[in-house]
């Protein structure tokens, strides 16, 4: 081998050389002793063992060929996992649930909160709104105020004016079926300010806007539904608000301003009394969107707008109660409550993941200890520590990949469920999907959890050597297991916390749901009618519907479902109100038909209901007020006969409206809002919601109602007929979502914690069989043995629940804002949660304890 100095031989070749030298020398020796070469070789092979095995072990020592051996380790790991099928299944399942829930919740968090709004430089966008100081409520902005804001402010690079979205319902028709939808009446800066471009075609130009051209931009949804998503739609016309408009473009689905329900946009110049509106100071027709100059902070803009508001208060009397609030567009789109709810959900799901991790960690640690003997023997036979660690890690990584992939699938299912549950009320819900960040979270989160819960037992186990393994035969030594004890305690603490929070939310939810809406929502149908041709339509409809079998009463109201704060000013005869700006807090004023209260089953607590005579043109103006109004303004006396009028001053013609009745409060505004000051005037409007009280099956009557109304007037938009209960349920969507999510998380956490305790105790029973056997042999009662383990379980449960309660009280403030008429320290909820945890724990402890009491004392004889 003279060439050797010129070429560095690889380590493998060197190893070959070394082993071959040995084998050949031994062969030579045996031949010298008289064996034939073949016999010598066979004998050497027998003594030496497989050379490949020796080589492999040498390589392991060298930590060479790390990758090559990893494949084998994975195979070994898989085989070990396959042997322990129950173990593998439970660990994977636990981690899968933890990861799946986390990824689903993260997707919600990411889609709704983390991902920026789909507009250019969205952090610069802000809603600039009028705020009523004394009433502490937001209001629309007048045209003249907007003009001043735009001229005087320096913080904003641009402002856009659009019509108040609560007043932007419009009827449009493509074929002969008119429909109602939300429209955006926006000025020419609107799309440019947002940096939004049309999906197809274009948005309208400043010239078109100024000229008052009848042009319309459609939403992607409307375009797909009515025009099949055809590019030919551009240039075609449709009827909006009774006039033909030319379609110039389509906005993508992600464009959701002014509201996510907006289906078409027209120039602001299409609105009535334009541009005279811009000169009106005392008005609330508009909303304003602004783009901050680059580098300007929201606080600076707010400060500047306050100065402007102050100036306007001094200059204009009608502004004396008005301030300006600048809100980041994001906060406007995603409300505070929803944000908190999602953060809480995410925190809860992270706790669940931690519990799952602790649980899996406990199982892994127990298994590692159980395998100590096996590992020690392998170590004694020359397997390196690195090798053992690697094999254990391979097992864990296998678990990781399995749990993360399965977790992704679970998350996909959860998100699908979320979509099907149809939470209409949630903004940006369509923005939630399993994308790259979610996949990354699944695998990174899973990896972190698996590594954390896997590395500890892996390290301790690999340190085992033969002597250690023998010494560890003493079971008492293993039963201490401080790591496992901590893991179980942590799980119980987490489960307690989640159970308390879920309990608080459930209680809030129940309170909200059982909150009497002021009328029986069951058996009530709401049908929207929209500008029927005949002025007598209501009376005809009432007659026809009342004739339908099952219909009890029919009435009508301006808009049944609209959610709004009071926005109607009212003046009461002979009263001034020094606690406000001279005007009353705003009322909700609804025009209702005779029969409305009957259909709604609202009790007349004083006076009388409207009747058809109140509708006659010569009738004296009548008004019915809610109990809240009567109690506030005429406490202790009767409101009947008192006089008031809409508007901020007494009527010039002296036509006060007389209170003829008082009705019960109702919470039509949404269940978790306190009753508003409500007043009702009798009227039959051309567009309104019919309220139809039925007996029996509500759902099945809806088509009949729709048919009757269509038969009366086919030019009218197809009436939407819904049950009131369905809509009320949808209003609770966000609350139901967070409650359900937390209940599910808490339930899972409870199961995990109980399973963790069960596993830990069962494991201890196995380890201490010998000891138990001795105790039994020495006369210990079965009850003593049961008590031994139940006590241990109880101690862990006690520690865990104590920590959990402490944690819950610490986080009470965060939860508080999500609760409804429930204190975050509600003792009954705490008690119920603790009982639930205790019962689950005791059940989990009882089984292993029973198992322990059945240990046969003969075991000592058998197992030594």
């Amino acid at each position: 081998m003279t060439w050797r100095p010129f070429r560095r031989r690889s380590r493998d070749e060197r190893l070959d050389d070394e082993l071959r030298y040995h084998v050949e020398r031994q062969c030579d020796d045996y031949i010298r002793e008289g064996l034939t070469p073949a016999e010598a070789r066979r004998r050497v092979a027998l003594e030496f063992g497989p050379t490949e095995l020796a080589k492999d072990e040498c390589r392991d020592v060298r930590r060479l060929r790390w990758l090559a051996t990893t494949a084998r380790d994975v195979r070994l790991g898989l085989r070990a996992l396959a042997r322990d099928r129950l173990f593998t299944l439970s660990v994977t399942l636990i981690l899968t649930i933890g990861i799946g829930a986390t990824v689903a919740m993260f997707s919600v968090l990411n889609g709704v909160i983390l991902r920026p709004l789909p507009y250019s430089q969205p952090h610069e966008l802000a809603v600039i709104a009028t705020h009523r100081i004394l009433q502490n409520q937001f209001d629309g902005t007048s045209g003249a105020n907007f003009v001043d804001w735009r001229q005087q402010s320096r913080s904003f690079g641009g402002m856009s004016l659009y019509r108040r979205s609560s007043a932007s319902q419009v009827v449009f028709a493509v074929a002969d079926a008119p429909q109602r939808t939300q429209e955006g009446l926006v000025d020419a800066h609107f799309f440019g300010l947002l940096g939004a471009t049309a999906l197809v075609g274009r948005t309208f130009s400043a010239e078109e806007s100024a000229r008052g051209d009848r042009v319309v931009v459609l939403s992607e949804d409307l375009w797909r539904k009515e025009f099949g998503g055809s590019v030919d739609a551009i240039g075609r016309s449709l009827i909006v608000a009774g006039a033909w408009h030319t379609i110039v473009g389509v906005m993508p689905r992600t464009f959701q301003l002014p509201t996510k329900e907006t289906r078409l946009w027209r120039p602001l110049s299409m609105m009535p009394r334009w541009p005279a509106q811009l000169a009106i100071r005392d008005g609330d027709q508009f909303e304003v969107l602004g783009r901050l100059r680059p580098g300007t902070r929201i606080g600076e803009a707010q400060a500047e707008m306050e100065i402007i508001a102050h100036r306007l208060r001094a200059e204009h009397d009608v502004n004396r109660n008005l301030d300006i609030r600048v809100t980041p567009l994001f906060d406007h789109v995603v409300g505070e409550g929803l944000r908190r709810g999602i953060y809480l959900g995410f925190a809860a799901v992270l706790s669940l993941l931690a519990i799952a991790g602790a649980n899996a960690g406990g199982l892994l640690a127990a298994r590692a200890t159980r395998r100590r003997g096996e590992l020690a023997i392998r170590a004694a036979l020359g397997a390196s520590r690195a090798r053992l660690v690697r094999q254990l890690m391979a097992e864990h990584l296998t678990l990781w990949v399995a749990a993360s992939s399965a977790g992704l699938a679970v998350a996909a299912i959860l998100l699908q469920l979320l979509e099907w549950s149809g939470l209409d009320g949630l903004p940006r819900l369509d923005n939630i999907n399993l994308d790259m960040p979610a996949v990354a979270i699944a695998f990174l989160g899973g990896l972190v959890v698996v590594l954390m819960c896997g590395s500890v037992p892996a390290l301790t186990a690999s340190r085992a050597d033969a002597v250690d393994a023998f010494r560890r035969r003493d079971p008492g030594d293993q039963s201490r297991q401080p790591l496992q004890r901590w893991l179980v305690t942590a799980q119980i603490a987490g489960a307690t916390m989640l159970a308390i929070m879920a309990g608080l939310l459930v209680q809030s939810f129940v309170r909200v749901q059982h909150q009497d809406p002021g009328y029986p929502a069951a058996n009530l149908l709401i049908a929207r009618i929209d500008r029927p041709a005949s002025p007598r339509f209501f009376f005809e409809a009432r007659e026809r519907l009342a004739a339908l079998p099952g219909v009890v009463a029919v009435g009508g109201i301006t808009d049944f479902f609209i959610r709004r704060a009071g926005d109607q000013q009212i003046t009461i005869e002979g009263r001034t109100f020094a606690d406000t700006d001279g005007r009353l807090p705003k009322f909700v004023m609804d025009a209702v038909t005779p029969g409305y209260f009957k259909a709604m089953d609202i009790t007349i607590v004083d006076g009388r209901d409207f009747d058809d005579r109140d509708l006659e043109s010569g009738a004296a103006p009548a008004v019915i007020v809610s109990r809240a109004v009567a109690e506030r303004f005429w406490p202790g006396g009767s409101a009947i006969g008192k006089r008031l009028v809409g508007g901020n001053s007494p009527p010039v013609d002296g036509r006060w409206a007389t209170v003829i009745g008082v009705v019960d409060d109702l919470r039509r505004e949404g269940l978790d809002v306190t009753p508003v000051l409500a007043s009702y005037i009798p009227a039959v409007l051309r567009s309104m919601d019919l309220t139809i009280r039925v007996a029996g099956d509500t759902e099945s009557l809806a088509p009949a109602v729709r048919r009757e109304l269509r038969a009366l007037d086919s030019s009218m938009p197809v009436p939407a007929v819904v049950t009131a209960g369905t809509r009320l349920g949808q209003q609770l969507g966000a609350r139901r979502f967070q409650t359900q999510a937390l209940v599910v998380f808490a339930g899972l956490a409870l199961v995990f914690a109980a399973a963790g305790l069960y596993a830990a105790l069962t494991y201890q029973v196995t380890l201490r069989r010998r000891e138990i056997g001795i105790r039994t042999a020495l006369g210990a009662d079965r009850r003593d043995i049961v008590g031994l383990f139940v006590r241990r379980g109880a101690a862990l449960t006690l520690a865990g629940t104590a920590i959990g309660i402490a944690g819950a009280t610490l986080t009470a403030r965060v939860v508080q804002s999500l609760l409804y008429e429930t204190t975050p320290f509600d003792p009954r909820t705490y008690l119920a949660a603790v009982i639930a945890v205790a019962v689950a724990s005791m059940l989990a402890a009882a089984l292993p304890a029973r198992q322990a009491s059945h240990v046969d004392p003969l075991i000592i004889l058998r197992d030594g």
Binding site: D17, E47, G49, T51, E57, G382
Partner: protein
Amino acid sequence: MAADKSDLPQGTLDLLILTIVANEPQHGYAIAQRLRQMSREVIQVRQGSLYPALHRLEQRGLLAPAWRPSETGREAKYYRLTRAGRAQLDAERASWRRLTRAIGVVLRSAEGETS
């Protein structure tokens, strides 16, 4: 494997190897021969498993390798005891003596009890 031959406990093999190379550097084959003689064929070492042990000791810095011509003239890998190896050998010898003495005491007293 014959029934009267014991497996080497982990760590013992290392101790024997260190002892063998303590006087002068040896190659693997020579170590194997010495092991067989020293233990008078009582202790069974699968010869193949000698090499991982050698490599492990080398890895731990207790042995240093060198390639040089052997007594047959062919190149062989020789292992030499390093300074760390000598210290380790001394320590293990001492602890082995303590252990065997202690076990001896226990065994003798146990035999005394049973007889």
